[in-house]
Amino acid sequence: MSRDWVTTGLWGLFLLGLTVLLLGWERSWLQLLLLGGSAALVLAGAVILRPLDEHGRAREQPETSLGTIVLAGGITIALLGVAFGTWLLLPGLGLVALGAGVALREVRR
C-alpha cells in the first residue's frame, strides 16, 4: 500500500485546524461551510486515495481524441442555453452525447 494519502491527509488536517480556529469568532454558516467543507473534502480524498497504488501504470490511449473536443463544444452550447434560451440545450446536449459516444469508441478501438 502506498503512503501517497499522507500528503493529502496532512493538508486536510491543516484546513481542519484553521476551521477550528475560526470557531473562536462569530461567523456565518457559509464561512464555516466553505472552510470546513474543504477540510472534509480533502480528508475524504485522502481516505479514498489510501488503498490506491497505480505507480507507473498508464492505460493505452488513442493518439488523438476528437470526441473530447466535440464534448467540450456540447457543454459550452448547452450552458449558453441556460442564458440564451432552452432551444440551445437540445443541440448542446446532442453534441455532449455525440462527443461522449465517440470518446467511448476511441477507448474500445
Binding site: 500528503t7 507507473g56 467540450a72 463544444g73 459550452t76 441556460v82 442564458a83
Partner: protein
C-alpha cells in the same frame, strides 16, 4: 520503469489540437493562454493611454469599463491560471518519471473548455451592448439584471464558468499524476521542487474553484428570474463564494512559478535546492493558510472577522519567508551563479515579488486597508505580485525549458534585452501607482481631476506600459528567430538536476526512450554526475 516503443506521431493542426499527449496538451494550453496575454496586454495599453493625462477621452466611460473588466478577467481566468497549470501538464509527468498524465482526455477536455470559455467571454465585444463591464469580480448587485442588462454579462458568466471548470479538471489530473504515477524510487520527498509546487497548487484548486463555479451559476440563474442573491446578506454571500476562490487563485497563479524559479536557481547555482524539505512543507502550509484569508478582501464590508482574517493573512509571511530563504540560500550557497536570461528573470521575480508581498502586509492590516481599499495602491500591489512575480517567473520558465520543448535555445542577447525592458517597464508602470493610490486615486475610474496632482505619475506609468509592450515584441522576435534558425541545445544543455533532462529534446511520445537512472534524491541527474565524477577520480 517507464520505457515504451515509439509510435509514429501524427502531424498537422488537428493532431496537435486533439492530441492526448500531455506535452502537446500543455503546449496548446500555453499557446492559447499566451494569445489571451497579448489581447489583454492591448487592453492594458488602452487603459494606460486613457489615464495618461486628465480629460483624455480615447475611450468612453462605458468602453473603459468594458476594457478594464475584460483585461482583468482574461489575465486571470484565461491567461495566468491556465498558463501556470499548463506548465504542470507538460512538466510534471516528465519530472516524476511517468509516461503519461492521468486522464489525458480529461486534460484535453479541460483545455478546450478553457478555450471555448475564453471565446464566449470575449464575444461580448461583438454584441450590440458590448462586453461585461462589472470588473473581474462581477459583484452583486452591480452584476444583476437591473444594473447590467447587457448580453455581455451573461456571456462573461458562461465563459468564465467554463474556464474555471477547465482549470479544475487540469488541477485534478495533475495532482492525480503526482500521487499515482511516480516512477519506482520517486517517493513524495524525492519529487522535484517544481512538482511539489504543483501539488500545493492543485490541492488549492480542488476545494477553492467549485464555490466560484457555483457562485457564478447562481448569479446566472439570478439574472434569469431565480431570486438568489437579492435577499438579506445576499451580496455578502456572493462575495464569500467569490473570494474563497479568488484569493487562493493568486497562489494558483504564483506557486508553479516559485517552483520553476527554484529549479532555475538550483540549476544555475549548480547545487541542490537549499532547504528542500522545509520548502515542501512550507508550500503545504502556505496553501492551507491561503484558503483561510479570503475575508481580508471584505474588511471594509464590516461583516467579517477582521482579527481572524488579519491573523491568517499576516501568518502567510512565515511560509513565504521560508521559500524566499530557500531560493536566496540556493543562490548564495552554490557556485557563482551563471547569469543566463532564465536566471535574470528568476532574480527579477525574487525582487519584484518581494515588493508585492511586503505591500500585501499593508492590505492585510484592517486599519491600513481601510485607507487604501479600492485605490491604485491595490492595483500596484497585485501587479507586483502577478506581473512582477508570476509573469517574470513564467518567462524564467520559458527561457529555461524552451530547449527541452523545442530542442533549440532562445537567443540569450534578445532574452536579456527582453528582461531589461520588462524589469524597467514594469517598475515604471506600477511603482507610481503605490503613490497615486496612497494619495487617494481610485481604481476603475476613466478620468481624474487635472488639479489632483496625479498627472505626472500617470504619464510615467503609461510610458512604462509602452516599455513593457516593447519587451513583449522583443520576446516574439526571439521566438521566431530561434525557431527559424535553431541553435541545437542537446538533451541537457544547462547541466540540470531533474528527470525531464534525462530524455531527448523534444521528448518522445512516451516521454523516456531509455531506462530511468536510479532515483535516490530529488536531484537524480546531479547524483548521477557526482557518481560518475567519483568513479572517474577513483
Amino acid at each position: 520503469m517507464t520505457v515504451a516503443l515509439e509510435r509514429p506521431r501524427p502531424r498537422g493542426l488537428l493532431a496537435w489540437a486533439a492530441s492526448t499527449d500531455h506535452k502537446r496538451i500543455g503546449l496548446v494550453t500555453l499557446a492559447g493562454a499566451f494569445v489571451a496575454f497579448l489581447v489583454s496586454g492591448v487592453l492594458a495599453l488602452l487603459i494606460r493611454s486613457e489615464l495618461a493625462w486628465p480629460g483624455n477621452q480615447l475611450l468612453s466611460n462605458d468602453a473603459y469599463n468594458q476594457v478594464f473588466t475584460m483585461h482583468g478577467s482574461a489575465m486571470i481566468y484565461v491567461f495566468m491560471t491556465p498558463a501556470a497549470l499548463a506548465l504542470g501538464i507538460y512538466l510534471v509527468p516528465l519530472q516524476i518519471g511517468a509516461s503519461a498524465i492521468v486522464g489525458p482526455r480529461a486534460t484535453l477536455l479541460g483545455t478546450w473548455l478553457t478555450f471555448t470559455g475564453a471565446f464566449v467571454s470575449y464575444s461580448g465585444f461583438v454584441t450590440g451592448s458590448g462586453a461585461a463591464r462589472d470588473g473581474w469580480t462581477a459583484f452583486f448587485p452591480l452584476s444583476d439584471q437591473a444594473f447590467s442588462p447587457e448580453t455581455g454579462m451573461d456571456l462573461w458568466l458562461v465563459g468564465t464558468t467554463l474556464t474555471l471548470v477547465g482549470s479544475l479538471i487540469h488541477g485534478t489530473t495533475i495532482l492525480a499524476t503526482v500521487l499515482l504515477r511516480r516512477a519506482p524510487g520517486m517517493t513524495m520527498l524525492r519529487i522535484p521542487v517544481f512538482s511539489w509546487s504543483m501539488v500545493a497548487t492543485c490541492l488549492m484548486v480542488l476545494p477553492s474553484f467549485p464555490p466560484a463555479i457555483v457562485g457564478f451559476l447562481l448569479l446566472l440563474a439570478d439574472r434569469h428570474g431565480v431570486n438568489v442573491y437579492d435577499v438579506v446578506n445576499g451580496p455578502l454571500e456572493y462575495q464569500h463564494l467569490f473570494w474563497f476562490y479568488a484569493h487562493p487563485v493568486v497562489y494558483v497563479m504564483f506557486f508553479p512559478l516559485v517552483g520553476a524559479v527554484a529549479e532555475v536557481v538550483a540549476t544555475f547555482a549548480r547545487r541542490p535546492f537549499f532547504g528542500y524539505s522545509a520548502t515542501a512543507l512550507s508550500l503545504l502550509v502556505f496553501a492551507a493558510l491561503s484558503m483561510s484569508v479570503w475575508g481580508h478582501h471584505m474588511f471594509t464590508t464590516g461583516n467579517v472577522q477582521n482579527e481572524y482574517f488579519s491573523l491568517t493573512s499576516t501568518a502567510l509571511l512565515v511560509p513565504a519567508g521560508i521559500e524566499y530563504f530557500g531560493i536566496v540560500g540556493t543562490m548564495v550557497a552554490g557556485a557563482r551563479p551563471r547569469l543566463t536570461t532564465a536566471m535574470w528573470f528568476a532574480i527579477g521575480f525574487v525582487l519584484l515579488f518581494l515588493l508585492g508581498g511586503l505591500s500585501g502586509i499593508i492590505v492585510a492590516s484592517p486599519t491600513l486597508d481601510y485607507h487604501v481599499h479600492d485605490t491604485m495602491f491595490v492595483v500596484a500591489h497585485f501587479h507586483y505580485t502577478l506581473f512582477g512575480g508570476s509573469v517574470l517567473g513564467l518567462f524564467a520558465a520559458v527561457y529555461f525549458w524552451f530547449p527541452k520543448v523545442t530542442g533549440a535555445f532562445l537567443r540569450e542577447g534578445l532574452g536579456k534585452l527582453h528582461f531589461a525592458l520588462f524589469f524597467i517597464g514594469m517598475n515604471l508602470t506600477f511603482f507610481p501607482l503605490f503613490v497615486l493610490g496612497y494619495d487617494g486615486m481610485r481604481r476603475r475610474v476613466a478620468d481624474y481631476p487635472g488639479d489632483a496632482g496625479f498627472t505626472t505619475l500617470n504619464l510615467v506609468a503609461t510610458v512604462g506600459a509602452a516599455v513593457v509592450a516593447l519587451g513583449v515584441v522583443v520576446f516574439l522576435v526571439n521566438v521566431v528567430v530561434s525557431l527559424r534558425r535553431p541553435v541545437p541545445a542537446g538533451d541537457d544543455p544547462w547541466g540540470a538536476q531533474t528527470l525531464e533532462w534525462w530524455t531527448s529534446s523534444p521528448p518522445p511520445r512516451e516521454n523516456f526512450d531509455r531506462p530511468l537512472p536510479p532515483i535516490r534524491s530529488f536531484t537524480p541527474l546531479l547524483d548521477l554526475r557526482e557518481e560518475e565524477e567519483r568513479r572517474r577520480v577513483a
